[in-house]
């Protein structure tokens, strides 16, 4: 079965700091990879996704993620965070069964102004 690990459960940064959130998955086949974000009081929404091609994908609000197949990783990055980036971030993957999405346990990011 597929699984997704997010090792950072809670990250606290000051504004303008750089961000990298880890995501590792376990599945040896072709995968589709996603990052979702949930801002306080809002619904989960898609931040970015990777299906194929350039392993560096760019999403909304200056976020990007890099797919490294050899490391089974899809880490999320942002060069300079803002207070408005305070949210919970979820990594997700689907592979052999496109109906099923496997989510990580989430990382809560708190950006101090």
């Amino acid at each position: 079965a597929q699984s997704v690990s997010q090792h950072n459960h809670h990250v606290i940064l000051s504004e303008a700091a750089s961000l990298e959130l880890g995501c590792n998955y376990s599945y040896g086949g072709t995968v589709n990879l996603f990052w979702y974000v949930q801002y306080p009081g809002q619904h989960l929404q898609l931040l970015l996704k990777y299906f194929s091609g350039d392993p560096l994908v760019k999403g909304i609000k200056g976020f990007e993620a890099e797919f490294i197949k050899s490391k089974f990783s899809f880490n999320l990055r942002k060069p300079s965070v803002q207070w408005s980036d305070t949210a919970e971030y979820f990594c997700a993957v689907n592979g052999d069964n496109f109906n099923k999405f496997y989510f990580g346990s989430g990382t809560k990011l708190n950006v101090k102004p």
């Binding site: 989960l44 099923k100 999405f101 496997y102």
Partner: protein
């Protein structure tokens, strides 16, 4: 409506009672998903509907859980004889069609507390 809606937003029930959770997907979306998010856990896939096809129930944790989708639109998740471990946020999502290339749009969730 503009997005996925779920009701109720909060539900408190006693152990052993049955509960029904409702999801209204975005109009025209043929794919509908139910997830469960327990405290400190990620989203756990429960069930998936696509149009009139048989649902993928492989994520339902026990036979106390069932779901239906009437007319290809509204879906109801039913939990019978609730247990304390059923306490969680239940999220519904819909997408235009089942392709993973289509974004899933999530509802606000129903927070279920079983006393």
């Amino acid at each position: 409506g503009a997005g996925v809606s779920q009701s109720p937003s909060n539900k408190v029930t006693e152990k052993g009672k049955d509960v029904e959770l409702r999801c209204d997907p975005i109009s025209g979306h043929t794919a509908l998903y139910w997830y469960r998010q327990s405290l400190g856990q990620g989203l756990e896939f429960l069930i998936y509907f696509q149009g009139n096809s048989a649902p993928d129930k492989s994520g339902l944790p026990s036979d106390r859980f069932s779901a239906e989708r009437t007319g290809g639109s509204v879906s109801t998740l039913t939990i019978q004889r609730t247990q304390q471990e059923d306490s969680a946020v239940y999220l519904c999502a819909s997408s235009l069609d089942p392709s993973p290339y289509n974004e899933q749009f999530f509802g606000p969730g129903t927070r279920l507390t079983v006393l």
